[in-house]
């Protein structure tokens, strides 16, 4: 379009920055500056894609393709559609704010930022890949640095959590390897090009198994019940920026993969397993919400709320139809920003008070009004209150669900009620009342610390108030999927 390989710039800028950090980052402050520059490049790039994407034309745009391993039919092939563009934007916002949040990382900053950026390249790569092999390649690249990021910079049973996360995700990717290998021979054209794969009509039998493999493989990362147990542990153990990226964007790779490889390739399979996906979605929503309610650690609350909120994505994908699917993708974006904000806030509170125990925190409103305001915005989005991104997403999903099944809607609605209950109670405990001993000495965030929170909160509000900014984009990406699901 513009003549610049903008997607390559977005995907490769972080890894290039990571290499640069490894080479020149011996000064403790240099890595974060390089990381921030990479964040700016990806943010500007993603905004350019966002603005430049032709929503009327739809389809894959900004495409690039270079043969990579011709003998296997693998190519470095990038392109984005209406589903990927919001994900690129989400990732670049979260990484940009994540670098800001990590500004004061003092333990081995060089390795920290290098790994963070490597991970982000993997995430961008997944969202931009148009080749199944490439997508998987980037997927793995996003998973591995997580291990070291948690094991070295984490807290609370970090070694256990890191290993648990890694093994779960590798188990998921093992299933995906199997899927890739089988699909490759089924298509039989010696290519991993997703365009070719989407055009191929897989047998019904193959679709049934193929979708199940995709559901289990990507589901480990979404995370679907009962493969979710690594997730809260992982969120809690991870350092702030990593929690943000982890819950904010990494989980989306799972859902994105399920759409791209599961539903696009195996629409019949998606149909066969729709009830399973819906069922898991409802369980995720309700079970996650109840678990969140009984937690005493702030991070665990948000960790389990992620399990719950990703349930809406599953519910939307399982229900299908225009509203539910749009809602699912909308929720992927909304949840990413919202959870990023939550973890940024909790990171700040923890840094200041050295505790995440809900019982020890109260009266934040008095000492840190700006932070408290952001907390309210994040919670509002999480509860699905109007004028926030979460509202639009949940509404769309519910509209989709109600038209299909009132019972499913009613079951899922339990989750909404429980979510409202635990979040309101949480807000009351930590924001209101007299400042506790831990909260008493702290002050509101400095402008630098507040900037990332403000950016994330503003995004939530912006998308919530002007949902059309996101809606038309996502719809343009959903339409081909709808046609596919309808058997076209």
């Amino acid at each position: 379009m513009s003549g610049y390989p903008v997607l390559s710039i977005i995907v490769l800028a972080p890894v290039a920055a990571a290499l640069l950090i490894v080479l020149v980052g011996s000064h403790p402050k240099v890595p974060r500056v390089i990381a921030l520059l990479a964040g700016v490049v990806t943010l500007v790039g993603s905004l350019a894609v966002w603005i430049g994407y032709d929503k009327v034309a739809g389809g894959f745009q900004f495409t690039e393709s270079v043969p990579w391993i011709p003998s296997l039919g693998v190519s470095y092939s990038l392109g984005v559609d209406g589903i990927s563009v919001p994900m690129l934007l989400l990732t670049s916002i979260v990484i940009f704010t994540g670098v800001l949040v990590s500004w004061n990382v003092e333990t081995r900053p060089r390795e920290f930022f290098a790994l963070l950026l490597l991970l982000v390249t993997g995430v961008f790569g997944v969202f931009a890949a148009r080749d199944a092999f490439l997508l998987f390649f980037f997927y793995e690249m996003a998973v591995l640095p997580m291990y070291l990021l948690i094991a070295i910079w984490g807290s609370t049973r970090k070694e256990y959590s890191a290993m648990k996360l890694t093994l779960f995700l590798f188990a998921g990717s093992a299933v995906l390897i199997l899927l890739l290998v089988l699909a490759y021979w089924q298509v039989g054209q010696g290519t991993f090009d997703l365009g070719v794969w989407s055009a191929y009509r897989f047998t019904d039998q193959f679709q049934m198994w193929g979708f199940l493999l995709a559901l289990v493989g990507f589901g480990a990362l979404i995370p679907i019940f009962p493969l979710h147990t690594w997730s809260p542990d992982g969120h809690v153990a991870a350092p702030t920026a990593v929690s943000m990226i982890h819950a904010g964007v990494l989980l989306k790779i799972g859902a994105y993969g399920l759409i791209r490889l599961g539903m696009m390739l195996f629409p019949h399979g998606a149909h066969d397993w729709a009830y399973l996906v819906i069922g898991i979605g409802v369980v995720n929503i309700v079970y996650g919400a109840f678990c969140a309610m009984s937690q005493t650690d702030l991070k665990y609350v948000i960790g389990y709320s992620s399990v719950s909120h990703m349930g809406y994505v599953l519910l939307g994908l399982g229900i299908g139809g225009r509203f539910a699917l749009t809602g699912a993708v909308f929720q992927m974006f909304a949840h990413g920003i919202m959870t990023g904000l939550f973890f940024a806030l909790i990171g700040f509170i923890y840094e200041q008070t050295h505790t995440r125990a809900i019982a020890e925190i109260s009266g934040l409103m008095h000492r840190t009004p700006l932070v408290a305001a952001c907390f309210i915005i994040a919670a509002a989005s999480s509860m699905g209150l109007p004028s926030t991104a979460g509202f639009v997403a949940e509404l769309l999903v519910y509209v989709g669900v109600v038209t299909q099944s009132v019972w499913v809607a009613a079951a899922a609605f339990v989750g909404v009620v429980v979510t409202a209950a635990y979040l309101l109670r949480l807000l009351g405990r930590i924001l209101l009342g007299e400042p506790s001993d831990a909260v008493l000495p702290i002050h509101d965030a400095t402008p630098l610390r507040f900037a990332p929170m403000a950016i994330l909160a503003a995004t939530i509000m912006f998308v919530g108030i002007l949902p059309n900014s996101m809606f038309t984009m996502i719809t343009s990406g959903i339409l081909p999927l709808l046609r596919r699901l309808a058997g076209g």
Binding site: S71, F137, L148, A151, I152, A162, L167, F170, W185
Partner: protein, 484 residues
């Protein structure tokens, strides 16, 4: 064929290697006598060996296009032989680099060590192009005998001697099994040339059960060599007890010498009414599972790599079970990826052992601070062994699985991918110790040649992971030779 003289003219690479080994010994003879401490002043002799192998590689490149048989089929020169010859020369050269400075630390006679590595490489090279059973038999001894000495080289370490004894017994048993298998085949078919055997088996309606038994015994002999289950019991003890440079050398050298041979014989006998895919599939599944489960419990990194080597033999056998040109190509690609990653890992072990005098995994704590680059090479090597994208090991595994799935061995692929998850656990655990655990902070004094070898290997691992196309093409061309 233009007589012996012309045949010999084709064998320049082998002659150069033979002469190189002798040259090292002759030079050593003229050097002044040294005591224990002076042994390290001989380490430059290893570079003589490297140079010799490099010259041999040039000679091999000059011979590359040749397709012929020499001495009535005893030696087969073709693309496959060339591919393996290059591989073995590379393994020899890298092993010499690993050994250069570390061998003088445990012996007064490093020159003999280097010479034996060179001659053992010669044995591997000849095996790569051997086309006849008795040549194979004799050449196997040429590789086994030096190895026994190399394993027992650290005389003062009791474990080294024990390992050598165990390996000696293994060699005796596998030799006996091989000899028996060969005699059965020769007795039934009246020929010992592989191409002749293939021809006869191709014509026969039904295969004599004696021949089938002979083939099975033959492959049992190789299974010892390639460290496949259930013939793997000797591996952990021998790998642990042998001096580290020897372990590095044998972990890839003798393994792939076994494969070089086995591939020719297996492909030549595809007509036999033996269910090769099932036999090798079961062997692969056993090797992968036993190797990976065994590796989990190890606290000594050499033992861990021994078990990992058993598992890796399993992945390679998945390619054998596929029994297709692509399957063989995937093994060829895998052999290079595994060699590079494994030797890089052993380079790290040599570096760390220099400081800690042990190969316990706990000794790696804090390595990331003591020697960041060594830590990085170790991490990359281990991740490649585990099969992580970006790295050669991933491409290799993926390719093997891809070819096996094409032949319908989906159950085997499934077992393979499950195993690769298990393997990530123990590879990651070492990385955890290296990067997370606090340990000594004193900077590590590096072994220059071993570090160089590791660096070369890691560069290769990255190159294979990111730009595998060229290697894929070479492997495919070499594999196609067997299927004409």
């Amino acid at each position: 064929m233009g007589g012996t003289a012309q045949a010999v003219a084709y064998l320049w690479p082998e002659l150069i290697v033979a002469i190189t080994g002798a040259l090292i010994l002759v030079i050593d003879l003229f050097l002044p006598r040294v005591g224990e401490e002076g042994a390290s002043s001989r380490s430059w002799l290893a570079y003589v060996g490297v140079a010799g192998l490099a010259v041999a590689a040039v000679a091999t490149a000059a011979r590359a296009g040749v397709e012929t048989t020499l001495f009535d089929g005893i030696i087969v020169l073709d693309g496959l032989a060339t591919y393996f010859t290059f591989l073995f020369l590379g393994i020899g050269a890298l092993s010499l680099l690993l050994a250069a400075n570390s061998v003088p630390r445990f012996t007064r006679w490093p020159a003999e060590y280097y010479a034996l590595v060179v001659w053992c490489t010669l044995g591997h090279m000849v095996l790569a192009s051997a086309g006849e059973l008795f040549t194979i038999f004799v050449t196997l001894q040429l590789t086994s005998l030096p190895l026994i000495i190399l394993i027992g080289y650290a005389k003062r370490s009791g474990k080294s001697g024990e390992a050598a004894l165990k390996y000696l017994l293994l060699v005796l048993v596998s030799t006996a099994v091989l000899a028996y298998g060969m005699s059965l085949i020769y007795g039934s078919l009246g020929t010992s040339t592989i191409s002749e055997i293939a021809l006869q088996l191709g014509k026969a309606e039904r295969i004599d059960s004696v021949v089938a038994l002979g083939l099975v015994l033959l492959l049992t002999g190789f299974a010892f060599k390639i460290t496949a289950a259930p013939f793997h019991y000797w591996v952990p003890d021998t790998y642990e007890g042998a001096p580290t440079p020897t372990t590095a050398f044998m972990s890839v050298g003798s393994k792939f010498a076994g494969f070089a041979l086995a591939l020719r014989i297996i492909v030549a006998t595809t007509h036999v009414q033996l269910d090769w895919p099932l036999i090798f599939g079961v062997m692969a599944a056993l090797s992968m599972t036993i190797g990976n489960l065994g590796a989990i419990r190890q606290v000594n990194i050499k033992r861990m790599l021994a078990y990992s080597g058993i598992a890796q033999a399993g992945y390679l056998l998945v390619g054998v079970a596929a029994l297709s040109a692509a399957g063989v190509a995937s093994i060829l690609f895998y052999s290079v990826a595994y060699t590079l990653a494994n030797l890089a890992a052993f380079g790290t072990i040599i570096n760390v052992a220099k400081a800690t005098r042990s190969a316990e995994i706990e000794g790696y704590a804090g390595l990331a601070k003591r020697a960041p680059l060594v830590a990085l090479t170790a991490a990359i090597a281990l991740l490649s062994l585990g099969g992580l994208p970006l790295l050669g090991g991933f491409m290799a595994k993926f390719y093997v699985f891809l070819t096996a799935a094409h032949e319908g061995l989906i159950w085997l692929v499934a077992i393979g991918v499950i195993n690769s998850v298990i393997s990530m656990y123990y590879y990651m655990r070492v990385i955890y110790v290296i990067y997370v655990r606090e340990g000594d902070t004193e900077p590590l004094v590096l072994d220059p040649s071993a570090t160089l070898a590791s660096a070369v290997c890691v560069a290769g691992v990255l190159a294979l992971g990111l730009f595998p196309e060229y290697a894929f093409r070479l492997a495919n061309e070499a594999a196609a030779v067997l299927f004409r």
